[in-house]
């Protein structure tokens, strides 16, 4: 009996440990969930890049204050339009709480999204340029940006893309420190306050 029980118990312990490891302590079963858990635990440095904003000027992605980022493409018919609306609500929510941090909607399709496309997306969603603006990186910086923020973009076969959308927080030390649902306004406000 014992002879049978010991090897099985050892295997069960190892199995539980493996499952614990594979799910970040039962906290994440999807890649998107894992991204959120892992950056919250271990903020990752973000290399500095310049973004061209819809106003036509160039700004550094992160500076001395925390920064909120989301990735979009302006010709997106669905999720980016919803998240554009959510980002506007988030801006209002933060300003009511007395917080004003830079917010960027960054296009991952900079070849197609020219300045006028960025402007009309901004206009549609009431982005005025401060604190929230629409921006695009130079194409050469894009792969690194997507990799750092673990954004997966795949063609949808209809000329558009599907991608994982979230509000991403860069803290005051220039580290990717949080990823949130686009409507998790209270969580985002708390995280911004903690990162100040």
């Amino acid at each position: 009996m014992i002879r049978h029980l010991i090897p099985t118990s050892v295997a069960v312990c190892l199995g539980v440990a493996a499952l614990w490891q594979a799910t970040d302590g039962l906290r994440a079963i999807t890649a998107e969930g894992a991204r959120r858990v892992q950056v919250a635990d271990n903020p990752q440095p973000v290399s500095q890049v310049m973004l061209e904003t819809m106003q036509g000027d160039w700004r550094a992605l992160h500076g001395p204050s925390p920064t909120l980022v989301e990735f979009i493409y302006t010709t997106c018919p669905t999720i980016c339009q919803a998240s554009g609306g959510d980002f506007a609500e988030l801006r209002d929510h933060l300003s009511q709480a007395g917080l004003s941090v830079p917010m960027y909607s960054i296009s991952f399709d900079p070849e197609v999204d020219d300045l006028s496309a960025l402007q009309s997306y901004g206009e549609l969603h009431t982005a005025t340029g401060a604190p929230w603006t629409i921006a695009r990186p130079v194409p050469a910086d894009l792969p690194q940006l997507l990799k750092t923020f673990q954004v997966t973009v795949i063609p949808d076969g209809w000329g558009g893309y599907e991608h994982n959308i979230a509000v991403l927080l860069i803290d005051a030390q220039g580290r990717f420190a949080g990823a949130f649902d686009t409507r998790a306004f209270d969580d985002i406000r708390d995280a911004v306050e903690a990162a100040l």
């Binding site: 029980l5 499952l19 594979a22 599907e162």
Partner: protein, 187 residues
């Protein structure tokens, strides 16, 4: 000899499917995964192991299966080289082979439980992938996610048919030799 050749053929077929797995989750999860598991199963089938290893082998197989059922593992196998290689090692040697080794000494009640579990788990995954309000895998489109969900349901139906049909025809050869079921007797 035929057994080893079939194992090699299954493994080769799984490797040949690789160019399509990034674009189609059905090929990835419902064609390549089973082929890799089958390769390990065929490699080990018929080999004898001491009865004391039945429990540990079953646990290894179930743990490996559980890890590969996680959507993030499916994503990681596409995005990360380590996970990509681990897929080709752990599905045959961590799932297929241990299952083949422990199956002959598993008792009929546990067998029935495992079969019922695999059908209900496939139906659960089918429901999850067809009804999830979000994309479960970053690497795949929503439409493909739904197709994969329906694929899980078809797989559940296929397994049910395979396991039920012999019962309907009155042939239940597996319950013939009671003395072989070491694991049931010893706990």
């Amino acid at each position: 000899m035929i057994r080893l050749a079939s194992a090699a053929a299954a493994f080769l077929a799984a490797c040949l499917a690789q160019p399509w797995v990034a674009g189609d989750p059905v090929v990835h999860v419902l064609v390549q995964f089973p082929l890799l598991a089958a390769a390990g199963y065929l490699l080990a089938i018929g080999q004898r192991v001491p009865p004391s290893l039945t429990g540990p082998l079953l646990v290894v197989a179930l743990t490996t299966a559980a890890i590969w059922m996680l959507p993030r593992s499916v994503d990681a196998a596409l995005a990360d080289t380590g996970w990509h290689l681990a897929k080709f090692v752990t599905l045959p040697l961590g799932f297929g082979a241990p299952l083949a080794l422990c199956w002959p000494t598993i008792g009929p009640i546990l067998r029935g439980f495992l079969k019922a579990q695999s059908v209900s788990m496939l139906l659960f995954l089918g429901f999850l992938y067809t009804h999830a309000p979000v994309r479960i895998c970053n690497s795949y489109l929503v439409d493909d996610q739904v197709r994969l969900g329906l694929g899980f349901v078809w797989a559940a139906l296929a397994l049910t048919a395979i396991w039920m049909i012999p019962v309907l025809f009155g042939r239940m050869p597996e319950i013939a030799k009671e003395e072989r079921y070491e694991f049931s007797r010893h706990g």
